[in-house]
Symmetry: C2
Subunit: 462 residues, 2 copies
């Protein structure tokens, strides 16, 4: 990774700035040359004799849990391979259907609200500093009434955040190291990786491609991508993503009712990731809280990322119902609130203004239009792979197409596609051993790129 | 806290919406009424018979580390007392010199950049999704050249974030539970609280008002607010904030050289919080990396919050030099990068556009003007307390005034000031037992409020 690429090269000390590549130095100062006389921000008085002692090590032990992690986090690894490919083929017209990043402009009704909020920060009346760590009251209320109306979820059950991935990390901090966890296999890798980081797991076991002490709930075409709960061991926490990333499978009402009952029987907490709920086409539940009793066993994370193209703007939310209690009767929401207040300071006020605009009638309409566009993309991709004779899953309820390459290695398929078509996908095995033999194709892309990608798939596989 | 205020009241089930206060329900739907027929976002099919079973508990154990935390996090607690005061005196003209929140509008050159970036997100060319988790290259480069020019800190040593508090939390996740830590006493409570949460400490010991297994480095007027390092036990991590929050004391070059040597001798890692460096008036170092050898033992966190009034916008950065190594030789930056990639997704792209504008010559000039204004406030507050015969510390290098009330209880002083003058301050003991007998008065405020506050202090103490 580029971060570390300089690690082994010898460092130039501050006294040797004459040896710094002048172009690099100049390009920096061009951008931000600071009249030093008026702003004494930076005093540059490092001792001339300072030399890097490359052999100095602190006596601080490396966190042994982080040391358990395998390779890089999946998506930076995909990005790294994409970058390497571009180095090899500088003129390649690379199409990214990999990391699931939104591509279409955000509707003006939403960005205008953010621009307005930005400008208002320059006025006495419009300026705001620290907001509530849990999010602005108006946004929490709008989330409650838009997505949880009549489900008994109230404004103060909702915590606004800078994204679902960040909230998953904070939830893991709440749970700590003395819990066990289960996860769909395959699923979004942040669940497993954050669990490893918090020390909830054992070492990675290369033979089975699993971490010890994690219950992997296998989701395959054979079981309709819903785990056979009769074979799943009891764990404290159950991560469950529906519609699932990467398989695109959405659990039905019956399945979720089973899952809630399973959690209740075991005294488990479900962390339900509904990041793709807005992409659903059938009538499966959009929220776990549609299932009776779920408020006593479930947390729900959600995000504006895939709803409104906010992957870069950063805004999400997590529902922690006040009815959800630890074994000693202490409310989970109270500890989550404490973590949010101690390790977080709320989402950007500008992003929150955008979120509020999303939930206005015209915002919802505009959002839905973009989502409709991506859903069309999904149909095109599904059609292309179907016509080539592949077994294709997902697509109906999620912007991900899960393509089966039976008996093949996911990374090999990923590499072959990248090498021969300049298309970036995501290897299924990056989502867990249950993803082996699949690749995930994201439907986020400009239409012409999606069409061109399908043409290239056709050339490759026809 | 309001979050929990409903906990013991019985919940209305979804079937009993007729019993919901109609005004509350209406006020929600007014704001975000959704034409359900066109947007099937929310299916409201919770079973009518669902009733809250208030006695159901999961079998998930509460995280025993979080259970160690005392009361609420300091600033929400101050906010809670402010709110209670307002309930008691609804017409009081409350002046907040408490939580250290910026109050002055953000210069237009900065907000315009954010507004422009917001609007650009509505265009094909200007849209951007996921950015690099570590921050945009241009911003990292600008931070390096503005604040660390000639200090040997490079663009890839800098991680852009949503704020220093959040980065402190992420650093603690990097360190994990098997490290020991030292902290200035008094200091910003997030260091201690995040350490408790991660399990680095023992229980809170009421007799000394300290957590077991934390090394509290006492900073008093007697030692010039710099700890006597000869009496400080070796720890893995040393949190050090300079200029200090709350005392306002900035460590001199000699003191920081001592500190770096102390860390080097012990193999410790310093987490240096420079959030207030821009407020310094004397020529003490702005960055720990001005001290020779610091790159091998120190991390630096910093923030746009107090530089540019970004407390609500959320933008900060952390420097983890590639020279900093764990005891096994593994680079700390590599693990921090992994946590940033796994539990975070980068700061908002709009906030980053604001940060970049801050570092343009006109942005720096505008920023410096606002900072100059707050520094004037500080002088006014220092003058007022001096004229009343108080011993006053801080103020010269930080926007905080540290007022001594020898022999008195900080919370008593806080309460008396609030009760008699309607001014919110922060009790010194909230920053550690070494803060007992002090209150912190923040200089963030409109000029008329600061002047009025000083008049009220005069009335109270004359």
């Amino acid at each position: 990774m580029s971060l570390m690429s300089n690690l082994s090269t010898s460092m130039t000390s501050s006294s040797s700035s004459a040896f710094l590549a002048p172009t690099s130095f100049n390009s920096r100062t061009q951008r931000v040359s600071v009249p030093v006389k008026s702003f004494k921000i930076c005093k540059c008085v490092s001792t001339p004799l300072e030399q890097q002692q490359t052999d100095y090590k602190t006596k601080v032990p490396r966190n042994s849990n982080i040391a358990k992690l395998q390779a890089g986090y999946l998506f930076p690894e995909v990005a790294r391979r994409r970058a390497a490919h571009l180095l090899k083929y500088p003129n390649a017209q690379v199409i990214s259907l990999g990391i699931g990043d939104t591509t279409e402009p955000i509707p003006d009704v939403i960005t205008s609200a953010m621009a307005k909020r930005s400008q208002a920060l320059s006025t006495l009346e419009g300026y705001s500093g620290y907001g509530a760590e849990q999010g602005e009251k108006a946004l929490r209320a709008a989330l409650a009434s838009t997505f949880y109306s009549n489900l008994g979820i109230e404004e103060d059950d909702i915590f606004v955040s800078d994204g679902a991935k960040c909230d998953i990390g904070r939830l893991q901090v709440v749970f700590g190291s003395n819990v066990t966890m289960a996860v769909q296999d395959p699923s979004y890798p942040a669940y497993v990786d954050s669990s490893v980081i918090m020390g909830q797991t054992g070492q990675f076991q290369k033979d089975v491609e699993k971490y010890a002490n994690i219950e992997y709930m296998r989701c395959t075409p054979e079981n309709g991508f819903f785990p056979d709960l009769s074979t799943v061991a009891r764990t404290d926490i159950i991560f469950f993503c529906s519609p699932n990333n990467p398989t695109g499978a959405a659990a039905t009402r019956e399945q979720l009712t089973q899952l809630v009952q399973f959690a209740k029987d075991n005294g488990s907490i479900i962390v339900y990731d509904s990041a793709y709920a807005i992409y659903m086409s059938d009538d499966s539940p959009r929220s776990i809280f549609e299932i009776p009793g779920a408020k006593e066993v479930a947390i729900e994370t959600a995000s504006f990322s895939k709803y409104a193209g906010f992957t870069g703007v950063r805004l999400g939310w997590t529902v922690v119902p006040k009815q959800l209690l630890f074994s000693d009767g202490f409310p989970v929401a109270k500890d989550f609130n404490r973590i949010v207040c101690t390790c977080f300071n709320g989402a950007s006020n500008i992003a929150q203004a955008g979120g509020l605009a999303c939930l206005l009638p015209e915002g919802l309409e505009a959002m839905q239009e973009v989502i409709g566009f991506y859903k069309e993309n999904t149909k095109i991709i599904v059609g292309a792979f179907n016509s080539l004779g592949f077994k294709v899953y997902g697509g109906q309820n999620a912007p991900y197409v899960w393509v089966h390459f039976p008996g093949q290695n996911s990374w090999d398929v990923f590499s072959e596609i990248l090498e021969k078509t300049h298309i970036v996908t995501t290897p299924g095995s990056g989502f867990g051993p249950g993803g082996e033999g699949f690749i995930r194709v994201s439907a986020f892309g400009h239409r012409e790129n999606v069409l061109e990608a399908c043409r290239r798939f056709q050339q490759l596989y026809n």
